[in-house]
Point group: C2
Chain length 493, copies 2
């Protein structure tokens, strides 16, 4: 269903600094590129947050009925920590530490990345290109930029000429609103800087020292591509020279995305991207997460509970729910209290959804479900405002409880809309994993527990209170909580 | 532990047609390359069998203490169904059907492939390179072969000159023992054959028609690599010009592996591979599996039970166990009866392992565990003979039952060896997933069932037979089977 026709989606465009009406280049189709991970270490929880934000954006675009080509790359080469220092290529560094080939490092952490994202129930992007898979395209773009006077070769490396770019009427710094003259005023004279005409220039191609393992032949000798160029090569190859949405963490705004704009304008003569979207940071206990300070937890450590910051383990669903309670452009601070609170909220939401099937319909509705549904869409149409959406979902749970307690009434049709809308937003859009519909042993566990509830009901009917209590207490000891209500006993695992 | 020092591993080398002592090029290190899937459709069960065979080979090499670099590629470009027909590139064909970009097809089926292998508890290879990630290397090998007179350009395509190769003293057909003159005697005159000097010649690079989407610029114009070349480029890049083991399905022996040998000899002047290993076919109900005949089931359909050939679903563990009951060089025929029998055997094995913890040690052993252990290694050292190994593992289960029934005795040390060896071969080498040590809900299910067994024991002690039977029957109805034995009640799920 092309429900995007009845929804006017607005999103915040970093370029204009404003929320803008979303209008894709090709009606009904969306091209979206998101800068993926550099696979030289385990994926950081902050990255998970960024990718989760775009997962929800992707999911909502799909929900609206758009045909989305979602490209998220894997950076498996050429991510320099410093343009001037060839030996700083992150893969080469790590491979020396672990005595692995660079591509073994790449494989190890690509697998880790995919496992973590799978754990959090991410949708796969439609294309997941790698930097090493696009060396030819990067060489060709570099050749074109040299030919057009935007780049120059120096000692087997090629640099983008930022001042020349600006002289030709363009504006390096347009995205981050920086002044190019001031940008590098305080730049230290790093090794390799002498190759550059100006310190602002950035590498498109780097000459590889003999010790550098990751290397390809090029018109300028053996080398490897600069980090910024890969995203220009891959995004335009699969989405066209001008596409709709480009996303990433806000730390990529400068210099990475600024360089992408410059490369694309130099190569194609126009801006590559209509909407630039940036996610904000993730902090823990109010502080920046960082390995060096020790204020750091890996995604799987957070799920597993084996970390010093959280009192218990949390399911991937609860963590996802917690993350999405912050808007993607706000700082997200996680803490034990925040996670415990999110877990309570999450359980309340799931209990509400479970109650849906038991609601008894009336001939009239005393609540406006249509209005509630519109509020849900309004939240997401307003720059993907997940916290407001979640507040609305809880409003839906309140309705369920009121109807269940016979304090309000809903018609069959309204119950159906409530159910459909809640399921769509919770499972399809927010990406909560519907545990009920998965895994075999969960079904069996549910079956066995339901059988125990029946046994307990029989025991209570026979006034065998000892057995009834025994069942309840022993189940609690294994982590299954029974809850007696007016309409029988429910349980949570 | 470098236990490979005490094991003389023999493997069947297709080149010699004999079992040979395995002696790696670099002591303690093994380089192994296996031809991976062409990701233009769902992975075939026959492919799963091939990759599972090499998964077990990889696992056993690791178990022996070798440091293994295991490279399994992804063929995401250039797999031609016919050299002569440019439009037959499988990705372009499929993309037209599904209206997807070729790289969307690649992503869709790469994800499917990884999910299926994960389901079957495969170890990840250490490097998983893609054909599109190695276009430069393929172009460079092609340039070298042209320069050395082994290949020629024709209409923007490049062909390997088989007759010239043989004239230079080499022998195209050495692996499959084919006579090159006879090979193509009956070749039909296909479109594009006119470009070739001889019908035996095969493509290293193909000129792309304007309609061909997957294309890269090359010294011969826009085109795409021939299928055979990618494996030569990737295997030698990551394992060296001469490496230990190259594996694949027997259908790849000719022409694919034959071409790989020719390409490597032409490029490097010597044979690339010391041990060629080929797996045999998988059939179903005695017939070749094939989509067109309808005698076909997808891996996930076999697991899920939604297929017309099997009466029920089977766990990935049972399917793996069934597959490994055939030697990798024998035809493996699957059927409902075979799978049901495998499931019975699998359960018997698991029950035996579960009993291990309950065995009571004696001061002397009446069984020779050391001899039994040696037989296990002997089976695997004899060309990875998993069916013989599995027979030995059942011998181990027999020992467990005999000791449990007090008919034989074992010392503490022998019980420890039995346990360690069984666990190592079942879980590490055969790759059976140890369900006990995984997933949360399985643990909870186990906890709840154990609690029910305790309740039932109490009921029986109180002669409350009605409750005791009720617990047993209701559990059975949810798929949990209780089994009363001398030493209490066990259960299977």
């Amino acid at each position: 269903m092309q429900i995007y026709k009845n929804n006017s989606l607005h999103l915040y465009n970093t370029t204009s600094g404003k929320k803008e009406l979303f209008s894709p280049i090709s009606d009904g189709n969306v091209g979206m590129y998101v800068c993926g991970p550099t696979v030289y270490s385990n994926v950081h929880l902050g990255n998970v947050r960024t990718f989760m934000s775009f997962d929800v954006i992707y999911r909502y675009l799909l929900h609206l009925g758009y045909n989305v080509r979602y490209v998220r790359n894997i950076t498996d080469a050429g991510h320099l920590t410093d343009d001037g220092d060839v030996e700083n290529d992150r893969f080469v560094k790590q491979s020396k530490l672990e005595k692995l080939e660079p591509m073994e490092i790449v494989q190890k952490y690509t697998v880790d990345f995919h496992k973590v994202l799978q754990e959090f129930n991410f949708l796969e992007p439609t294309i997941e290109p790698t930097a090493t898979g696009h060396i030819i395209e990067q060489i060709e773009l570099t050749q074109k930029m040299i030919a057009d006077g935007f780049a120059y070769e120096s000692n087997g490396s090629v640099y983008f000429n930022v001042l020349e770019y600006n002289k030709k009427g363009m504006n390096y710094g347009e995205l981050s609103n920086r002044n190019v003259e001031e940008l590098f005023a305080n730049t230290r004279d790093l090794d390799g800087q002498s190759e550059k005409k100006n310190p602002q220039d950035f590498a498109l191609w780097k000459n590889a020292s003999p010790a550098h393992i990751m290397r390809w032949n090029s018109p300028w000798g053996a080398g490897f591509p600069g980090w910024h160029l890969e995203c220009t090569a891959m995004s335009t190859k699969y989405l066209g020279e001008n596409f709709d949405i480009h996303g990433g963490g806000m730390d990529l705004k400068f210099p990475h995305h600024e360089c992408e704009i410059a490369q694309a304008k130099a190569s194609f003569g126009h801006s590559p991207v209509n909407y630039w979207m940036h996610t904000n940071m993730l902090t823990m206990n109010g502080l920046r997460m960082s390995k060096s300070t020790g204020n750091y937890v890996l995604p799987m450590e957070l799920i597993g509970g084996n970390n010093p910051f959280f009192e218990k383990s949390f399911s991937a669903n609860v963590i996802r729910f917690c993350f999405l309670q912050a808007h993607y452009r706000s700082v997200l601070d996680i803490s034990n209290d925040a996670m415990v609170a999110a877990e309570k909220g999450f359980n309340r939401l799931m209990e509400g959804i479970a109650l849906l099937d038991k609601l008894v319909a009336s001939s009239t509705s005393t609540l406006s479900i249509q209005n509630w549904k519109e509020q849900c869409y309004k939240a997401m149409n307003d720059d993907f405002n997940t916290p407001i959406l979640i507040a609305n979902l809880f409003e839906g749970v309140k309705y369920i409880n009121l109807v269940n307690d016979k304090k309000e009434t809903l018609t069959v049709d309204d119950i159906a809309i409530l159910k459909e809308t809640l399921n769509a937003f919770v499972f399809d859009v927010l990406g909560i994993k519907n545990v009920k519909s998965s895994s075999n042993n969960t079904d069996k566990l549910t079956g066995v527990v339901e059988m125990l509830i029946t046994m307990r009901d029989e025991a209570r009917a026979n006034k065998n209170w000892a057995l009834s209590d025994e069942i309840r207490d022993k189940l609690a000891a294994t982590g299954v909580i029974l809850k007696d209500g007016k309409d029988g006993t429910s349980f949570s695992i």
